[in-house]
Symmetry: C2
Subunit: 202 residues, 2 copies
């Protein structure tokens, strides 16, 4: 399609970078102050624009929030789905799943924090989307735990409750983890994986 003038590669690139920096600033500021307390002015200041100019890149404050979650869970969900559907004992599968989940939380700290706090701000469609992702995640853990209970790998009779306990332990790291703290991501993930197995064994 030669007819489209391609509007100048440099401009296109700079514009894309601006948009990314706006989203990054929004994520950071939403996390720091919360969605409602954060103003478009705050975000504009952070990227060096007037607040009105943000609307050249973004259609609304709400859209800015919604976009922050889009596709964010895909990678982790993919890893965990593959593990749960793959080979290996239930114990091995669950260990790998917990490790993947914890690392997923730790690598998306800001998004997780914002989402858990601002869930009620999302418009219905976006809310359904993230709820579906959460449910899928829970079902995957529940499935492996249930299978382990049936084949004798794990003890107990309520895989649903066990999954909630386990996911709670893992999700909660977003509240206390500090990137330059005493514990590395791997150390936490490994420890929690072991703890999850023990929690389900006699």
């Amino acid at each position: 399609m030669r007819s489209v003038p391609a509007l100048g590669r440099r401009r296109q690139r700079r514009s894309a970078e601006r948009e990314k920096s706006i989203r990054a600033a929004a994520l950071r500021i939403f996390r720091q102050k919360g969605y409602h307390a954060a103003s478009m002015q705050n975000i504009a200041d952070a990227v060096g624009l007037y607040k009105g100019s943000l609307y050249y890149y973004v259609s609304s404050k709400e859209e800015l929030l919604v976009r922050l979650f889009e596709g964010r869970a895909d990678q982790v969900l993919g890893e965990i789905r593959a593990t749960a559907g793959g080979t290996g004992t239930c114990t091995e599968q669950l260990r790998a799943m917990v490790r993947a989940y914890v690392r997923g939380v730790l690598r998306n700290l800001d998004s997780v924090r914002v989402y858990l706090r601002e869930e009620h701000v999302l418009p219905p469609a976006a809310l359904r989307q993230v709820h579906a992702e959460q449910r899928t995640m829970r079902d995957l853990f529940e499935g492996v735990i249930g299978q382990g209970m049936r084949d004798g790998s794990f003890v107990g009779t309520d895989p649903k409750l066990a999954a909630l306990a386990l996911l709670g332990m893992c999700t909660w790291v977003h509240r206390w983890y500090r990137p330059r703290g005493r514990l590395t991501e791997t150390a936490i993930a490994d420890d929690f994986a072991e703890r999850a197995i023990r929690m389900l064994s006699v």
Copy 2:
């Protein structure tokens, strides 16, 4: 003190009831919509007053929020402190502590939900207060876990991480518990207590 006219017992009682109903409505609405999205008008509507009239009972919206947490942790903290300082093996102590903690969360669902979401809105003094309570709680669990690790009741070497894992699992119930759901408070508390012990044993 006969000189004070005691301002009419009935009035006093009705006024106190009004104040309580305002706080109750505020708690409910803050939980439903979040602090910033909830308006004084919403609260006024819920109790059948004009929003300006709320200021006869309350000095500001922020004060309304702060008061919702005052003394809320005292009962649970007291129970747990007594258990941790009492007799019994580490296993017995921890079991009782987890049960008390989970029941504390379940019995103060709205406050817990509001606090965890609106922590950043609290003024510095109130924030220090709740942070201190959290730290105390963590220290109590950490202490018993550490003792258990030293005397061989529990395995592992990092009581701090173990306490965080455990408290995460227990605190997270506030996200999924539904009062008229399948599981009773006691069932959850007992299950989690056992799970906590297993998580710390070989």
